[in-house]
Amino acid sequence: MTILGRLKTISYAEIFVILVVVFLTVFMVKFFGRKKEFKTIRVEVIRNNWTENYDPYGYRAPFWLSDKVKVGQTEKSKSGKIIATLTDLENYERGSEEAELYLTVKIETLLNKRTGVYTFKDKPINLGSSIELNLDNISIVGQIVDNNVPEGGYPAKYLMVTAKGRNFESWLYTKVVPGLKVYNRATNEVVAEVVDVKLENSTLQQIKYSSSYLQAIVGKDKDLLVYVKVKVYQMDGRWYFMGHQNIKIAGSLYLYTNELNLYGFEIEDIKELP
């Protein structure tokens, strides 16, 4: 019997049943369609209370955790399949026993075609969403600060920043010398280096009140001018240094070197380096 002959043995009712089943199956698969996609996200490690030390900016990772996080670490699903890979890591000191960690992670997400929402471990991957990662048995809690990291990373460049610090203790001025470096602790990359240092008479005047007159004391305080070569990267049109420091004139600059921490510098000038 030919193929056509066999097909003729199928009744209309049977064809209807087959079509119903095919339709239901296709409907289920398409309507509840999910597509696996790898996405690269940027995570700021924040919010988990490791040490119960309150910080108004949010909790940061202690060194005993941050120093263990390395590029290449992975998280596996219950099936043993890799669902997250750490592709880039920024690890900056913050002046105390804490680190500022920024992770670039490639994760396996499921796209719900109906809602357009990407999920990772059944949690949505939206900008600002919290995320929990378990990279080689290191538990990391963070916030997604970018859920669409460009391929190849963010554009980066070097700037020469001139910044002024006022009213430091006199012993500090001798410690701030050219050659001080700020590192990305994850890669040992130098992200900032003090190229030159100048000491100037302070432009601020201090008014001393005595019983009979007001006297301005000029030249008492010194301003410390530092020339720092910094590496910045661009995110959403803004240039950032060390994760969250936005480099702009009159903005603040904080430098955490291995030797000392420099706070409260005011940016006076920015020049782009070739």
């Binding site: 049977e14 049943v17 087959i18 199956t25 289920m28 698969v29 219950k78 043993g80």
Partner: protein
């Protein structure tokens, strides 16, 4: 050309061609690399049944269902976590499988006038009990539960299992269909043993799509968690415990087929030796799953068949076969089992740990059983609802062992309630009450009976329901057994 076509046609008309057909398709599942190729294999099977073997749509669908029974690979799946969205709790996966699609198709086909006559089977006591169980489970599931999405997927699973029982009874009530069952079991055990042996030799999964199901899909396979770390064979069932239960079902049926094989024909005699070697290898694979509960099954199988052969004075091999040949065969059997002995010795050493370890298998099971009885006393009539046990117990049981009770009947007691479970127990009891006169004539039916008993034993130690294909296989084979019993009495 005409001669070749005639030869092919005569071969296809021969029932033995089904053995090769089933084997070919089981082995072709190893070629599946993703969902699409997996579906294609089953579609080809269906089309071959319809166009080549000239089966009608109903029978083609049934045979496709038969082939798809052991596989849990899905076209689409959903994860369920209890507590909700907590990946540290208990989770399971429910998905659209080929067997669900085929079962649904058969359910729709059976109501057509063309196939309605197949429903004319003698309705016995156990069928009524199963229907009452289904009714009670439905009432309890639909009207009295929370987390209805969890209950719904459990209910669908239950519905499919019950339908498998009936569809097996309906199909095998037709004349001259027993050979399908026989060749199905033979081909399945050959395939399962092959996959298991490959895994045992490699000491890891062989890396095929069918080895990874959404529920159990560790790419490196499963290892023992107590005692020295050892790899556990899991076949394509994907979990060693369920694979052990699965092989425990196949082996006694196959042994029954082995006993049934007529030894008068000399060529068939050598086939019996091949069967014996296959039994030895399948036992090796079963032992390599390192599931301690299956050791009880092996003892049951050996003792039941020993008494069966003794009582019925069966001759397995004629005396005229040379002693030298017999010795060679037994030597081979011993050599085949040697690789497993060292593995088993290590596993045996973990037995004291079962009792002494407070977070071990036994302690955890007892904790779950205790909680199961507590919950049962709270909701005795309707249970807490299918898949809801872990919601109720998440905070209270050991945080390292959030799971349903590791006893299938306790799952039913807690989640479906006492009345439904009692009815189910009666159903099992009446379905499995032995018929020694039938067993004497039909070793295969005796083998099926022993297989079903081994499932009941495995069910005492494992949650063989919601995420396990062997419950479906159990119900299917129970349906076959029920109709065989009826037709012989």
């Amino acid at each position: 050309m005409d001669l070749k076509l005639k030869t092919l046609k005569s071969y296809l008309n021969n029932k033995k061609s089904y053995l090769l057909f089933f084997l070919l398709f089981f082995f072709s599942t190893l070629l599946a690399i993703d969902v699409k190729s997996y579906i294609l294999i089953f579609l080809l099977f269906f089309l071959t049944c319809f166009f080549v073997f000239k089966k009608d749509i109903f029978e083609s669908t049934f045979l496709t269902l038969l082939i798809s029974l052991p596989f849990e690979n899905t076209l689409r799946e959903w994860s369920f976590y209890s507590p909700l969205n907590n990946p540290d709790g208990y989770s399971f996966v429910f998905g659209v499988t080929i067997k669900i699609i085929m079962s649904t198709t058969l359910l729709l086909l059976i109501i057509l006038p063309k196939y309605r006559k197949l429903l004319n089977i003698k309705c016995s006591k156990n069928y009524l009990l199963l229907l009452i169980f289904f009714a009670l489970a439905s009432i309890g599931s639909i009207f009295f539960q929370k987390h209805l999405d969890f209950v719904f997927v459990g209910y669908v699973r239950l519905l499919i299992s019950i339908w498998l029982f009936f569809i097996a009874s309906i199909y095998f009530s037709q004349k001259n269909k027993n050979y399908i069952f026989k060749y199905y079991i033979v081909s399945l055990i050959i395939f399962s043993t092959f996959v298991g042996l490959c895994q045992f030799v490699k000491q890891k999964p062989i890396g095929k799509f069918i080895e990874l199901t959404p529920m159990f899909s560790l790419e490196d396979g499963y290892s023992t968690t107590d005692g020295e770390k050892q790899y556990r064979v899991s076949g394509f069932i994907s979990h060693p415990v369920y694979f052990g239960s699965f092989m425990s079902i196949l082996i006694p049926i196959f042994f029954g087929i082995f006993l049934k094989t007529n030894i008068k024909n000399k060529s068939v005699l050598y086939l019996k030796y091949v069967y014996l070697i296959l039994i030895a290898l399948s036992v090796l694979v079963l032992l390599a799953a390192l599931s301690r509960s299956t050791w009880i099954n092996i003892l049951i199988i050996i003792s039941f068949f020993y008494f069966y052969i003794k009582k019925n004075k069966l001759v397995i091999f004629p005396n005229k076969i040379s002693e030298k040949f017999k010795k060679i065969i037994f030597l081979f059997l011993i050599i085949a089992l040697i690789p497993i002995i060292s593995v088993l010795m290590i596993r045996i050493k973990s037995i004291p740990d079962l009792i002494t370890n407070k977070d071990g298998s036994v302690s955890s099971r007892l904790t779950l059983a205790k909680k199961s009885f507590e919950l049962m006393s709270v909701r005795p009539l309707t249970g807490v609802g299918l898949n809801n046990f872990t919601f109720e117990t998440y905070k209270e049981v050991s945080s390292t062992f959030v799971a349903p009770p590791h006893n299938t009947f306790l799952i039913f007691l807690t989640e479906l309630g006492i009345p439904a479970t009692l009815i189910f127990i009666f159903f099992i009891f009446f379905s499995l009450s032995p018929k020694t006169n039938i067993f004497k004539e039909e070793p295969i039916i005796f083998g099926v009976w022993v297989a079903l008993i081994t499932f009941i034993i495995s069910a005492q130690f494992h949650p063989l329901f919601n995420i396990d294909p062997t419950f479906d296989i159990f119900m299917f084979i129970l349906g076959y057994f029920s109709i065989c019993r009826q037709s012989k009495t």
